[in-house]
Symmetry: C2
């Protein structure tokens, strides 16, 4: 099955951001959301691993560190499938702009580093739709680690890949650097494979945002705001939708 080889058929637009933890992608997508809304667009935001269906299960499994790489990967794919059907496709059908903080590429990077087969995980997500634009926030490990350490008390267990047997007993910051460097390698390979748009995440926040906005303007060219009339009913609409 060819993956993400054709544009989705919906009137809305799908914009996604990728990058390692501490790359600043969440800040950028939040700024983009505010800007799009101020421009009068109807925007729907969704983030990785957040569906009610499996959130609790993933949390429990993580806590107990009982999940193998395959099970972990399948749980994330289940979460994604659920969000795709209830949070991504319906607003796209309603003509909204959907912003996703992380997309299938996160699985292609993280799950492969955890040990699953690259082809297997790509097949797993072949039901997904191709984003209209995919940003990749490129940042050196050192800067990402510093940002995370300054922003909150500590790096999280799974962000550092501490669940991987070879990292047992290692310093969490060292483990973070090794684990996230491998994820960067995967992202770098995907730039060409999935036509990601790299953004230099070492630059000033507002400079980055300018680049993001320019690229978005280009990607949504010809997109009509008229649809926002339907989109106002979004909340009721997407909850009730079933996509077969």
């Amino acid at each position: 099955m060819p993956l993400f080889d054709k544009k989705h058929p919906y009137p809305g637009k799908l914009i996604i951001v990728e990058g390692i933890d501490g790359s600043g992608k969440s800040t950028q997508i939040a700024l983009l959301k505010k800007w799009l809304e101020s421009e009068g667009f109807s925007v729907f935001f969704t983030e990785w691993n957040s569906s009610d269906l499996v959130k609790e299960t993933t949390r429990e499994g993580k806590k107990k560190n009982l999940l193998t790489p395959t099970t972990f990967s399948l749980l994330h794919a289940t979460d994604f499938a659920d969000r795709l059907n209830y949070q991504i496709i319906p607003p796209l059908k309603a003509g909204m702009i959907v912003l996703a903080d992380r997309y299938a590429y996160t699985a292609f990077a993280r799950d492969v580093v955890r040990g699953v087969h690259p082809t297997w995980v790509r097949n797993l997500y072949s039901f997904a739709v191709k984003p209209d634009i995919s940003f990749y926030f490129r940042v050196p490990i050192q800067m990402a680690a510093e940002r995370l350490l300054s922003g909150r008390a500590m790096i999280k267990f799974h962000e550092a890949g501490m669940d991987i047997p070879e990292n047992t007993g290692k310093d969490i910051v060292d483990s973070f650097k090794i684990f996230q460097s491998r994820i960067i390698d995967q992202y770098e390979k995907m730039i060409e494979e999935f036509n990601l748009t790299p953004i230099d995440a070492t630059a000033d926040i507002h400079e980055q945002q300018e680049l993001v906005r320019e690229a978005v303007k280009e990607a949504i060219k010809g997109y009509s705001k008229k649809r926002t009339i339907y989109a106002k009913r979004g909340k009721v609409y997407w909850r009730r939708f079933t996509v077969s």
Copy 2:
């Protein structure tokens, strides 16, 4: 990725049963279990959709009929991955005979009837191991429906495929027959694809059991009971195992 193309490397044996609801496979596997135990083998039993990890989630999703075919398929695969890692591989490693009531073939039959792509769902389960013998209990729809209706009060909602939009409002027995007939078509195609051993499930229970035992004897030829010493520690053993 080629699917189930080579024998698993473990000292134990994996025996699985397949067939539509009402085919009598669960009765047959229960009889087989008793017989194997009476012969001095150490046996571990596992059944479809029973891992603690996602059982509750699947139950909730089913109840609310909120799951799309893809999400449903992914949840079952997650359950299977979890059971494979904690209930199937470890006892196989410990040299036990593992009996599974339903295996990946159930997904290949049901999920395809619900609308997922046959190749996609086969790829999904490519992490599974090939059973040493796979029985397929072949039964005409009418007999299966009668067995289910006599054995318990009613046919279950999902057994009848009532969650499929085209079956909305249909009589549950009619829907069961249509849905399970399609599942039979899928099983019939898999006999050759996966080298299933068909058993005539219209025959007398004890006649069927004789055929099953003969086939099992053949399939486990050369298998040594010596391993049962380790298998006695099975419970502690398989709970603590992590398969990477």
